[in-house]
Amino acid sequence: MNRSLRPLVATAAIFLLAYMVAVAQFPAMASTRVLGNFLTDNAFLGIAAVGMTFVILSGGIDLSVGAVIGFTTVLIAVLVMWAGLHPLLAFAIALIVAALFGAGMGAAIYYLRVPSFIVTLAGMFLARGAASVLSPDSIGIKHSFYTTVSKSYLLMPGGGRLSVVGIMMLLVFLAGIVIAHRTRFGSYVYALGGSETSAALMGVPVARTTILIYTLSSTLAGLAGVVFSLYTSAGYSLNALGVELDAIAAVVIGGTLLTGGYGLVAGTFIGVMLQGLVQTYIVFDGTLSSWWTKIVIGALLFMFILLQRLLHSAAPRRRKRLWTA
């Protein structure tokens, strides 16, 4: 078997096993209704996690995604409810703002030679702060477009509803897979993650690629904000608090190495689904309290990091490290 597929297969196997255990206990979980809700409830996380996958593949980290989601929801709410713009126009403006924000962070990371961790931390403060300066209170969005979108869905066999946001997430994952594996930009990202110096020597345009990676991540975070806004019909500066951690966890559980250069976008999808499964299981169980979600996700994260070490200890190679100890 192809060695690079091993972590993906491991994650998929664990997901299937967990899903079978859950179905054995609660047969209702096998329905397409639950599957549809899975996709809808985790759409914003999935979209943000695709952007995070690219960042982590390049050997960086983006702590600002949750804040960008929160900022986007507030910006859209302000544009729609106070400025009276059509939601689609508001979405376009929000995505452009998010893209510029990401480009700024990418430029800072490359030109100032600062770890991405600290630049995106500043970005996180800035986006959260800007969102709460725009409006400290939650703004409800009432617009006919929102009601239309939330009412439209594709009916799956078995009565499950594939909502618009669910479809958007699937499309983003498909686009992410194509970009990562079928474009020049995708191979640049992997090259950067392997070793920035070698990538630069091989002629990879490091500056442009770095800026593009963070632009992509922030734009997808902005899109996740659009989805979040459609999903909750409200803009609030504290929306999506801590989603960056869930996204990082999804990427790691999906088998992407945090040192960069190694991983698959498809793996992240399974990572997101596994987190959704944990949440759904806890809801179905009813007796477990919500904090178990955090503990289980932490335990899963630990397990997969351990698994990565075991799988990769077979092929010891020197790699560039994010934070070498």
Binding site: I61, L112, R113, E196, S289, K294, I305, L306, T324, A325
Partner: protein, 355 residues
């Protein structure tokens, strides 16, 4: 930033040099920044420096800045040691919540306060050891190793408090958060003691040198005979202990343990304090007192925003502006700008320069 290179390899210095470096230290940009911030606060609120003696303790805005800045400063002390080894500890906020929850549940369960404090500190130590084990034995990058506890830690804290905010009336715990020793608030006294003890431990023994050696190059340090793994374990355990101490103070201050909000995002403030203090995120160069000053700069900023009548939301925007300013000042870009009038292409990154 302006540290003399001699500090990177702190060889035994003649007493005269050490003395001179004290005056140089007071002229560092961090102290100037703190003075400027305090002066701005004074302009905004003329009574800022007024400190009164009442009920056997000092009261005033300046004391308040010290008191409010203490949890972050204590976290920053532990974080400085971790960052000096080229690591980072993201879990300190969650560890604060766990330690606070442990102490609160112990006291309400009828145990003595001394036992509760000991248990809370032991929990923090244990959390730190766990992080240290992941970093050393499993060689996981610190940012990820500590992410595990950051995600799961708040869940664990909620598990301990069973999801509710546990309030207590125990005088000893409340004393840790709000009492006074010799006129100063207890947290400030704890902070001063911890700063002096830690600084002595790292600068008057070889410990600081060893930490810097591991931070600059772990394999080289190991080849030079330093037990890098044991040292890292100690450093992470120390960061956990500091986090538990900060958690106790925060819990004592609000007379309860809030598993959801205790120490929320404080790990980021602590990292910011360390960076403001001039410790390099790439490891090797560190100063514990400067990190404490960094924490006080952040708190003076927070207080200034509050008393100037701006909404506290501006806090985050100002904080990010400060980080960006520091990053620009510390970057090779700015160094080039100062050295040469016109810039060529930015210098090539060294291996491991970016993260």
């Amino acid at each position: 930033m302006t540290r003399p290179t001699a500090q990177i390899h702190p060889a035994p210095q003649p007493p005269a040099l050490r003395h001179r470096s004290v005056t140089a230290a007071l002229l560092r940009p961090q102290f100037l920044a703190l003075l400027v911030l305090l002066a701005i606060n004074w302009l905004l609120f003329p009574g800022f420096f007024t400190t009164t003696w009442q009920d056997g303790r000092l009261f005033g805005s300046l004391i308040d800045v010290l008191n409010r800045g203490t949890p972050v400063a204590i976290l920053a002390i532990g974080m400085t040691a971790v960052i000096a080894t080229k690591g980072v500890d993201l879990s300190v906020g969650a560890v604060m919540a766990i330690a606070g929850a442990t102490a609160a549940v112990m006291v309400t369960g009828g145990h003595s306060a001394v036992l509760a404090v000991a248990a809370a500190l032991a929990t923090g130590l244990l959390c730190g050891l766990w992080n240290g084990l992941l970093v050393t034995t499993l060689s996981i990058q610190p940012i990820i190793a500590t992410l595990v506890l950051m995600v799961a830690g708040r869940g664990l804290a909620q598990l301990i408090t069973e999801g509710s905010i546990v309030t207590f009336t125990d005088p000893v715990l409340i004393f840790i958060g709000t009492g006074a020793v010799a006129g100063l608030p207890t947290p400030v006294v704890v902070l001063i003691a911890l700063t002096i003890l830690t600084t002595l431990a790292v600068r008057r023994t070889a410990l600081g040198l060893l930490i810097e050696a591991v931070g600059i190059n772990r394999s080289a340090a190991r080849f030079a005979g330093i037990k890098a793994s044991a040292l890292l374990l100690v450093v992470y355990a120390f960061a956990g202990l500091c986090a538990a101490l900060a958690g106790l103070i925060v819990a004592g201050d609000i007379r309860g343990a809030d598993a959801n909000n205790a120490g929320l995002w404080l790990e980021l403030d602590a990292i910011l304090a360390v960076v403001v203090g001039g410790t390099s995120l790439l490891g090797g160069r560190f100063s514990i007192p400067m990190s404490v000053v960094g924490a006080m700069i952040i708190q003076a900023m927070n207080t200034g925003i509050l008393i100037s009548g701006f909404s506290p939301q501006f806090n985050l925007v100002v904080k990010s502006a400060v980080i960006i300013l520091i990053l620009v000042l510390q970057s090779p870009f700015a160094a080039n700008l100062l050295q040469r009038r016109h810039l060529k292409a930015p210098p090539k990154a060294q291996e491991g320069d970016r993260a």
